[in-house]
Amino acid sequence: LNAAPGRAPRQQIRFLPAPAPGGGGAVELVAARVPVLADHPLVRGPRFRKLKIGAGHRLDVKASGVFVLGIGHGNKLLTDLYNCHLTKVYTVGGLFGKATDDFSDTGNLVEKTTFDHITREKLERILAVIQGTNQKALLMYSNIDMKTQEAYELAVKGLLRPMGKSPPIITAVRCLQFALPEFQLEIHCLHETQQYLRKMVHEIGLELKSSAVCTEVRRIRDGVFTVDDALPRTQWNLQSIQEAIRNCQLKVETELEKTLG
């Protein structure tokens, strides 16, 4: 970063003595534009000594996916994005037939059950009911009086969302793949933790009169940032980072503008 060409040094106007155009000896003041010595790289030193990097929504050790970081001014944008309360999308993989103590496939086994009675239809019914109850929670925690016209209009547009602290809420669930005993869900949620998603997989198993553990939690979207914008391990270099920041700037600005006004 420090090797890149920095800002041009500031210019200032000074009156310097210069020999007069007429005869010898007389000194005249001539206005000239000269660089300020304080801005010289040898005086100032390297431009960047420390970089302030902040992290966005947490991602725990066993999960993977999009992780948003803010650099410098981006830290302030991070707080604004947090206050927007945008949904995050996860792909959650599950496995029927086992129940463990920490709801993932690496925990200690608690129970094994049969799962041949489970069909895709039953799973989708349970998902519909989860969506329904969470939809109710969405409206309840949004802290708007249900009796006002304003509440009705926001509810019609689907913009009613909790704008403050709330327990984890799932706005949408969908079954992507179903091949007994494995299945994969796409979950859109707010204010959640990955352990809550694993617990949800466990509870889906219980509801279907069997048991399930969570094999994979992968965040594919965090607010406006999707997997396409994210940089994989091989691209963690200055060039790609700068390009990524430039590409996302516009998106972030429009989103903040829209939500926070």
Binding site: K112, T114, H117, K122, M146, H188
Partner: protein, 434 residues
């Protein structure tokens, strides 16, 4: 990948062997069937919910529960196929061939639940029935006839069978039971259950208004009897009728596929998707065709909202469901479009996003609409129940006591198949998930 063993971090062989040797439990076999359940909620002191412990608690320290604000499961002996809520009482019917086909609970001061012999005094009947009690119907072939549908009004009830016509019981002071009005008849403790068989074809739907009855036959004709002071019998006069008579007016010759009524206004839907209305119009229910407040002849309501599939009438508001799955409301009261819409004579559509429709789930449609006296209920094709309207004594089932100005989901542990709305309570038939 292996058969169900996930590739986790390297584990000790002992742990893996212990896991494989663990016993496998079976909670549900491959042939597990979904169970049919009945959920009730609302005002319980009339006994209409059918749970005696709400009215008379079984332990001394328990308090009676006046209102059940959320759905409560009611244990029934048979699968209930049809239910109806009246004004403080409920009828449940099952399409079984056993002798007991209909159960009733709630108010029985006009024998709307038939004669329930009191255990204390063998000559008198119960005035409040707290538990679903069988209603003895005078059937000729009790082990072959099936009960198709039941309907309840303010103080009378109708039971429709497949081969023995319609049975009516309860208050008959306006001829709503289809038999001649007897002066000074005492309805309490009355054993009489009247049977109606003289229609031009088999009756396929019975509907009770507040004090009148409507019968729809297979041919698409509609018969009515009962009170007519608001024109709700649709027979061209404002007197009472004690014998079911065919309706004429705009529905003469039209094949009607559904009739609905609960208060004093009636709606009928034809097979071509047209809506006809008659009866009370004080709340702008029929104001699109007439300025008068009572209409005693069926009139066609010229709404340009598409082909109508189902209609439901409430006390002051009406709702229709079109073929595309859109819900339209009009009338007076809390119509479901926020607190600002109190009355309208022209149907207004309720946005489908309030029923769960979104870009993420675009195939959610409303499948049925039902009306109580001042509430509305809608069932989607995913089995979700939405209610809105006045929350009289907790009848909406949302868990709160406030009125609901736009459709709100009711959390029921199952897929709702049908719902019956009353004045201050509701009954729903639900299939469990697995």
């Amino acid at each position: 990948r292996g058969s169900g063993v996930a590739a986790g971090p390297p584990r000790t062989r002992q742990l893996q062997e212990a896991e494989e040797a663990a016993p496998v439990f079976q909670y549900a076999g491959k042939a597990a069937r979904r169970k049919d359940r009945v959920f009730v909620w609302g005002f319980s002191y009339s006994g209409a919910l059918g749970v005696p412990s709400f009215v008379r608690p079984d332990a001394g320290w328990k308090k009676p529960r006046r209102i059940q604000p959320t759905p409560y499961r009611l244990e029934t002996e048979e699968k209930i196929s049809s239910a109806a809520c009246g004004y403080g009482f409920t009828l449940l019917a099952s399409c079984t061939r056993d002798i007991t086909k209909v159960w009733g609970m709630g108010l029985n001061k006009d024998s709307q639940l038939g004669f329930q012999r009191s255990r204390r005094d063998q000559t008198k009947g119960y005035e409040y029935v707290l538990e679903p009690s069988p209603i003895p119907l005078p059937l000729e072939k009790p082990q072959q006839t099936r009960v198709l549908q039941v309907s309840c009004g303010r103080a009378h009830s109708l039971v429709l069978t497949d081969s023995e016509g319609v049975f009516t019981m309860g208050n008959n002071s306006y001829g709503q039971c289809g038999r001649k009005v007897v002066e000074d008849e005492i309805y309490s403790g009355n054993h009489l259950i009247h049977q109606l068989k003289e229609f031009d074809s088999r009756v396929v739907q019975v509907v009770c208004g507040q004090d009148h009855s409507l019968f729809r036959t297979k041919r698409g004709t509609v018969y009515a009897c009962g009170w007519g002071a608001d024109g709700q019998t649709g027979l061209g006069h404002y007197n009472i009728t004690s014998v079911p008579t065919k309706l004429q007016g705009d529905i003469a010759g039209v094949n009607i596929i559904q009739v609905s009524s609960y208060g004093d206004c009636c709606l009928a839907v034809s097979d071509e998707g047209d809506v006809f209305g008659w009866g009370n119009s004080e709340y702008l229910q029929l104001a699109s065709v007439t300025e008068t407040t009572q209409v005693n002849v069926p009139r066609h309501l010229p709404f340009k909202i598409g082909k109508v599939k189902e209609a439901a009438c409430g006390g002051t508001g009406n709702v229709v469901l079109t073929e595309e799955g859109n819900v339209f409301v009009w009338g007076y009261g809390i119509l479901g479009k926020g607190p600002n819409l109190i009355e309208t004579a022209v149907p207004e559509m309720i946005p489908p996003s309030l029923f769960g429709w979104s870009d993420f789930s675009p195939d959610i449609r409303v499948a049925h609409v039902r009306c109580g006296l001042s509430q509305f209920a809608a069932l989607t094709n995913r089995g979700e129940l939405f209610v809105w309207g006045k929350n009289l004594r907790g009848c909406l089932g949302t868990g709160r006591m406030e009125d609901q100005y736009f459709p709100w989901r009711v959390t029921v542990p199952g897929e709702v198949v049908d719902v019956a709305c009353g004045v201050d309570h509701m009954v729903s038939m639900v299939k469990s998930f697995t």
